[in-house]
């Protein structure tokens, strides 16, 4: 699809299912995308869309059982010191083997939604950040690890880091804890940071600060970011490229401006019409009709069929629409655009 030289993450036809007592959840049903080096991919989706499972698959932390990767690959192109590129397929690695553990936390790290529950309450913030350095760089001395931690805490905007390095999580406010988590994610200078709803639990003023911080840090360290959120306006502000997910499928993918200016998929359009904005039109909101289908439901056709305003009976419910490039570098999974191609 794109210049493969700069591709850091290459996800190909990824399928994940969860075998539960109540039935099988097809969490991902063939998801493909790439993340470029130094760029931000925004992932938009509601609950059940598979956005967090995608992140877990890249990290190699899908809880198994009940989760299982049933198909596809997650390729990481990790540049080595001698300018060669090491290609790793995460889905083939044993989830607690040494290879994935040398990647997780060092090459890829993650920022979670809830900064309160992501830290251990009985260890100091500093020790928890330092742990990553000590694990991935065994030759680094304790003092050096501490210095790096303090430096990174300073970089993410925690005031008086040399004192607060010894503080416990409960002594931090929500915004400061989220900054500490970003410091923890970045202390080993990863190539990819996966941010899963990192600002959802925060106030808007703090959210704005955190988003700005992530952008600054990206400019400084050149890492790629996969930014997962249900909030379209937030994703629009941070991402270079956006993909919209619904029930385990990528529905639409394009550069951010293209996607926001010319949304093609009925789901994307409907989402746009259904959210109140601070500066948009004040007409009545148009809700998406119906409810999210049960996660156990199996969709023969398009998973959005039951709620779609533009569905074509006999077509959309019969087979799954393919992903098509309806406009230059703008992919959409919908039968409305298959005719013209």
């Amino acid at each position: 699809m794109q210049n493969t030289n700069n591709v850091l993450v290459d996800v190909q036809d990824l399928k994940v299912q969860f075998n539960l007592h109540e039935g099988t959840v097809h969490a991902l049903e063939g998801v493909s995308f790439q993340i470029q080096q130094g760029k931000t991919l925004g992932v938009i989706g509601e609950s059940g869309s598979g956005k967090s499972v995608t992140a877990q698959a890249i990290m190699g932390i899908i809880p198994s059982p009940p989760g299982k990767v049933t198909g596809g690959r997650v390729l990481l192109n990790l540049p080595e010191n001698d300018a060669s590129v090491r290609v790793v397929n995460v889905t083939e690695l044993p989830p607690s083997g040494s290879e994935i553990r040398s990647i997780r936390g060092k090459e890829i790290s993650m920022i979670f939604q809830e900064p309160m529950t992501s830290f251990s309450p009985v260890h100091t913030i500093g020790n928890q950040i330092m742990e990553a350095v000590r694990i991935h760089y065994p030759d680094v001395s304790k003092q050096e690890a501490r210095d790096r931690t303090i430096e990174m805490m300073r970089r993410v905007g925690i005031p008086r880091p040399e004192e607060r390095v010894d503080a416990y999580p409960f002594q931090f406010s929500g915004g400061m804890r989220q900054r500490a988590m970003i410091a923890m994610a970045l202390v080993c200078h990863p190539r990819l940071v996966i941010a899963d709803e990192p600002t959802t639990a925060l106030d808007v003023t703090i959210e704005a600060q955190i988003l700005e911080l992530l952008k600054d840090l990206q400019a400084e360290f050149g890492m790629s970011i996969m930014y997962i959120s249900h909030d379209l306006t937030v994703v629009g502000g941070v991402a270079d490229e956006v993909m919209v997910m619904y029930l385990g499928l990528v529905m639409e993918q394009a550069a951010t401006d293209e996607l926001f200016d010319n949304p093609l998929h009925p789901y994307t359009e409907a989402l746009w019409r259904s959210i109140p904005t601070i500066d948009g039109e004040m007409d009545r909101l148009t809700p998406i009709r119906g409810v999210l289908p049960s996660p156990f439901a199996v969709h023969k056709g398009c998973p959005f069929y039951s709620r779609c305003e533009k569905r074509i009976q006999g077509v959309c419910d019969q087979s799954r629409p393919p992903m098509i490039e309806a406009r230059p570098k703008h992919w959409v999974r919908c039968f409305l655009y298959t005719e013209s191609k």
């Binding site: 509601e46 808007v204 003023t205 703090i206 704005a208 502000g237 926001f260 259904s274 500066d279 999210l292």
Partner: protein
Amino acid sequence: MTANNDVLLEVEGLRKYFPIQKGFLKKTVAYIKAVDDVSLRVRRGEVLGVVGESGCGKTTLGRCLVRVYEPTGGNIVLNTGDQVLPVTELSGDQMRTFRRSVQMIFQDPYASLNPRMNVLETVGEPLKVNNIAHGRELEERVAKVIQQVGLRVEHLRRYPHSFSGGQRQRIGIARALVVEPKLIIADEPVSALDVSIQAQILNLLKDLQEQQNLTYIFVSHNMSVIRYISDRIAVMYAGKLVELGPKDELLARPKHPYTELLLAAVPRAVDRRRGHRTVSAGEPPDLARLPSGCVFRTRCKYAHDRCAEEEPQLRELETGHFVSCHFAEELSLGGVVPRVKSLAA
């Protein structure tokens, strides 16, 4: 003041302080002033949006107004049209009328419904405990309200687990509506819902309000949602009401620096490329250690010496537009300019 029949609810100098207790003897060492000297009026048939960051006291305010919390001080008067109720000192009889007149819709539809009660029991309970209806009549009234909120009569015997988040929120709304209240206090009623469901619930609330001429106090941290649903907006900060005004006026021409900051932080749909979310002004305050003078001054980029010395009082700057800032006349603050370009066209 309360003679005005347009005013449904009048709040004056409302305070709610929570004690901070320390040590074995639980000695009270200080107070958290969750709501501090808030005065406002709610007109019949309007939607008053209350917005602010976490810890600003918006939820506590809502809970004082339904008497879930006993206020520390101040007065609340509810004028139902037939009766004027002093909410802070209700007699037994008045309390029953009050409970029927004011209802609440909660944030989390998963936590606010009893999993062992079916829809009929849940929605019918306020009728039962308030001794309004029983038996057949109760069932009829519940069935009617259930349909108003977009559920079906077949749902009456089902239990919460068989409903989605949006449907559960509809049950919560039905429970509030069933006693035909005058005032509904909705505390973040859509923030736990998926984006595609939020619009359904917002539209439902809006329709019900218009059809039944209901009055809402709508509490939310989400300025975009507040903009959609409200007629007037009240902005709270650290337990204080810092600005109150008609929606369009307040959004386009905010008078308090905090409102400006709050508006600047909201992600923009249209102007996202300009990257103008330059918000670098600190964190929400520690309520146990508030600064002297103006509570906002430590984050305010316009603060002067006077702000540390003297606490600004809420005053009416223009008709219906209240603000508590010493320099409100002199500052020209940036608001939100609505754009007409349609994104979904």
